[in-house]
Symmetry: C2
Subunit: 173 residues, 2 copies
C-alpha cells in the first residue's frame, strides 16, 4: 500500500476545458486547445492574462469544471489498494474553497473529508506518489512524481509523464 | 531552520473559552474551566454533548474565537527563524473553512496563504515539530510532538507538554 497525493485542477478537474468554455461564452471565440501547448497556464487566449485570471475569482468557475475522463473510476479503484489523498493548492483563491469541496462531494462522494487537503505550498505533503500537472509542486516532492499532461506542461521532461488516468491505472493498480 | 506545523483550535484560537462564553450567553450558566479537566473536548457542560457540538456548526463560532495569549508574538518570531505552517483539521466542519481563513487574516495577517493547510487527517503532514492539543494528531506524527495544554488533554503523558506560548518560545527560539 502506497500513499498517493492527487492534485485537483488539471488532474481531476479539467481547468483548460473550463477556460476554453468560459472564454467562448464570454467572447464568442472558441480557442483551439492545441494553440495553448507549451504556454503558461491561463495564457494564449486573444485577450490578455488579466481576463483569464478574473475567471478564477468568479463564482462558479471551480464549482462547474468538467471531470477529467476516467478519473472517478481509477481513483475509486486506487482507494481499494492505496491510501489516497486529494491535495489542492486552494488557498491562493479563498472563494474556491467551498466550491472545491462541493465539486468533490458531487463527483467524488466516495472520498472522505479525512483525505482532503487544501494548502498553499505542497512542500509539506508527505506521500509516496504525487500526481500533479505543475512543476512547482512536483519539484520539491521527495517521493515519485507523476506529471499529468496539461497544455502548459507538454514540453517538461523532468518527471515521469502520464497522459491519461488509464496510464495511472497501469502504473498504480 | 526547522519546519513547524502549528494547530489552530486549542493552540492559537481558544476553543474552550469560546465554548464557555457561548454556553453562558445561551444558557445563563458560566462553567468553571477547572471542571472540564480531563473530559473529552466539548463535554462536561450541564447540557449534553449534542448541544455543544451544535455550536461548531453555527455561523460565527470559528470566526470569533479569542486568540490564545502570546501566540501572535511568538509565531511571528518563529517565522524569522523557522518555516512555519498552520495546519488545521478544518475539513470536518466545512462552514468553518472561510471563517478560519478570515480569523487568520484578522489576527495573523503576517502568515502567507502559502503556509496554511486545511486538512482532515494530519498524517500526511511532514514537519520537524508539531504543536497540537490532540493525541490523534500527535500520535502518527514522525517528528517531535509538543502537546499544547488544553482541559481535555491534562492527563495525557505521552508527549512533551507546553502550557504556554512562552514555553514554546523557550524551546524553539
Amino acid at each position: 500500500m502506497a500513499r498517493i497525493a492527487i492534485d485537483m485542477d488539471g488532474v481531476m478537474a479539467d481547468t483548460t476545458q473550463q477556460m476554453i468554455d468560459w472564454y467562448t461564452q464570454r467572447y464568442g471565440v472558441e480557442v483551439d486547445k492545441a494553440t495553448l501547448y507549451g504556454l503558461p497556464e491561463a495564457t494564449g487566449f486573444p485577450h490578455d492574462r488579466e481576463v483569464m485570471r478574473s475567471f478564477l475569482f468568479e463564482p462558479g468557475f471551480f464549482r462547474t469544471k468538467p471531470v477529467i475522463k476516467d478519473s472517478q473510476e481509477v481513483i475509486r479503484a486506487l482507494q481499494d489498494k492505496h491510501e489516497v489523498f486529494i491535495v489542492s493548492a486552494a488557498m491562493e483563491f479563498p472563494p474556491s474553497l467551498g466550491e472545491k469541496l462541493e465539486w468533490l462531494g458531487e463527483h467524488f462522494p466516495f472520498i472522505s473529508w479525512q483525505n482532503i487537503v487544501f494548502c498553499g505550498s505542497k512542500s509539506i505533503v508527505q506521500a509516496d506518489y504525487m500526481i500533479d500537472d505543475h512543476v512547482k509542486n512536483l519539484q520539491p516532492f521527495k517521493g515519485q512524481g507523476l506529471m499529468f499532461t496539461a497544455p502548459h506542461n507538454v514540453h517538461v521532461t523532468d518527471f515521469r509523464r502520464v497522459d491519461t488516468w488509464q496510464e495511472v491505472a497501469g502504473i498504480l493498480l
